[in-house]
């Protein structure tokens, strides 16, 4: 009779012990936010046009490359690009002015260079918006660097009002092997020429300024 009591007691204790066989844990992981994206004018590289005549409707063109080649390209070195195929040097007409109502010149213009800074290897969408003042319409256009991960292969993609560009910022392993520019992680550059059109009769020997926007978003 004592034996029976013992066995029953043991069997009863068994299910009670199950309660201790449990694991409940809050496990953890991590993530980190990326660097905020910003854009600034490269010092000394503001866009400038010279030679616009004075009559309403006169226009001047500073033609910048929209594909990373040609006479209006500022060059892979300036753009920090490791291009595909071959290095692209600065073109022969990066300061040339032309257009109806413009005094043609080979030296009067200056292509604007703007630098975007953000997370390495991130893709950003760059949008250029035409500007306008009381005296001028201003339509910038050109190209923006787009990086391919690794060695070379980078391009300069067209950009203008209405034509946004989705480009990859340089990554940590991006390099150029062809003697061209040197990618800087987290950066890309925008090169812009423009067409300026007089909206009113202008005054001779007078500098006019006009604002325009470059928008960059991840």
């Amino acid at each position: 009779m004592k034996h029976k009591i013992k066995y029953i007691a043991m069997i009863a204790a068994l299910p009670l012990s199950f309660d201790s066989f449990a694991a409940s844990e809050v496990l953890t992981g991590t993530f980190e936010t990326i660097k905020a994206v910003s854009i600034s004018e490269v010092p000394g590289k503001a866009i400038a046009l010279e030679g616009l005549q004075l009559t309403l409707g006169d226009e001047c063109d500073l033609v910048a490359s929209n594909d990373g080649s040609g006479n209006g390209y500022v060059g892979d070195v300036e753009m920090l690009l490791g291009a595909a195929g071959n290095a692209n040097a600065q073109g022969s007409a990066v300061t040339a002015m032309s257009g109806t109502g413009c005094i043609a010149s080979t030296t009067g213009g200056a292509i604007g260079i703007y630098e975007i800074d953000g997370a390495e290897g991130a893709t950003v969408t760059v949008t250029v918006v035409d500007g306008q003042s009381t005296e001028l319409d201003f339509a910038p256009n050109g190209c923006v660097g787009n990086y391919v991960a690794g060695v070379d292969g980078d391009s300069c993609d067209t950009i203008s009002d209405g034509t946004p560009a989705a480009v990859r910022l340089a990554g940590a392993t991006d390099t150029g092997s062809l003697g061209e520019g040197t990618p800087v992680p987290g950066k890309t550059r925008v090169a812009l020429g423009a067409k300026a059109t007089a909206r009113t009769a202008l005054t001779a020997s007078t500098p006019y300024t006009v604002d325009f926007d470059i928008n960059v978003t991840y």
Partner: protein, 222 residues
């Protein structure tokens, strides 16, 4: 008179014999032992990390793929090797993060306990998260052992956060849980692995260049 004495002696002997029989009955206490199951433990094999890829934009999603880690990482066997999928560790989503291949690191965890024991597993989200109003819903796969050696039907099955996985078998004795045809990725006795990726919703308060913690809960019972 002599005869009478003899009878008396026999009667006395019988009486003594009878007493002896009564005193041979006994009762004693015996000891039996019951050994409890091995306790359940959850171990981190690889920590979960979305990397430095998150945007600060509000209410956007970022998804870390952890669906197919492969049978070697997850320690189960099949009729053929289940390689890690190309998109394992990829980030995707709508505006929550940089997207691309292998940008994140899915978490790999093991549950250890009794060999061939059956456990109930619940992987669920934690709210609030430790560093802000963002949310995290874990997702991935867990190894589902079939408990036999005659075929190779073990799989890493997709789980849904908040849905209990009932009576999941921890691996049999090492070498007997379906690993006869695929030695690599062999199971380990008493273990079961699961992977964790998931979806982050960025909420409203993320700050650029800042590390954040993620939390999720795992409950395991026999």
């Amino acid at each position: 008179m002599q005869l009478k004495k003899t009878k008396l002696a026999k009667q006395i002997s019988l009486a003594i014999l009878g007493f002896t029989l009564i005193s041979s009955a006994t009762a004693d206490t015996f000891t039996a032992s019951v050994t409890t199951l091995d306790d359940v433990q959850i171990n981190t094999i690889t920590g979960l990390d979305f990397g430095t890829n998150m945007f600060t934009a509000t209410s956007q999603t970022c998804i870390l793929d952890a669906a197919v880690p492969g049978n070697i990482t997850m320690q189960y066997a099949t009729t053929g090797v289940i390689a890690e999928h190309a998109d394992f560790g990829d980030l995707s989503g709508s505006g929550g993060c940089i997207t691309g291949n292998k940008l994140g690191t899915p978490g790999i965890y093991s549950i250890s306990g009794a060999t061939a024991g059956a456990v109930n597993i619940l992987i669920s989200q934690v709210s609030p998260q430790p560093d802000g109003d963002y949310t995290f819903v874990p997702s991935g796969c867990y190894v589902n052992f079939d408990g036999t050696t005659t075929d190779d039907a073990d799989v890493c099955a997709i789980y849904t956060a908040g849905t209990p996985l009932l009576a999941q078998e921890l691996a049999d004795v090492t070498g007997t849980e379906d690993n006869t045809t695929t030695p690599s990725g062999a199971s380990v006795a008493g273990e079961l692995r699961f992977s964790v990726g998931g979806t982050i919703n960025t909420g409203t308060g993320l700050v650029a260049e800042t590390p954040y913690g993620l939390e999720f809960q795992v409950d395991v019972t026999y």
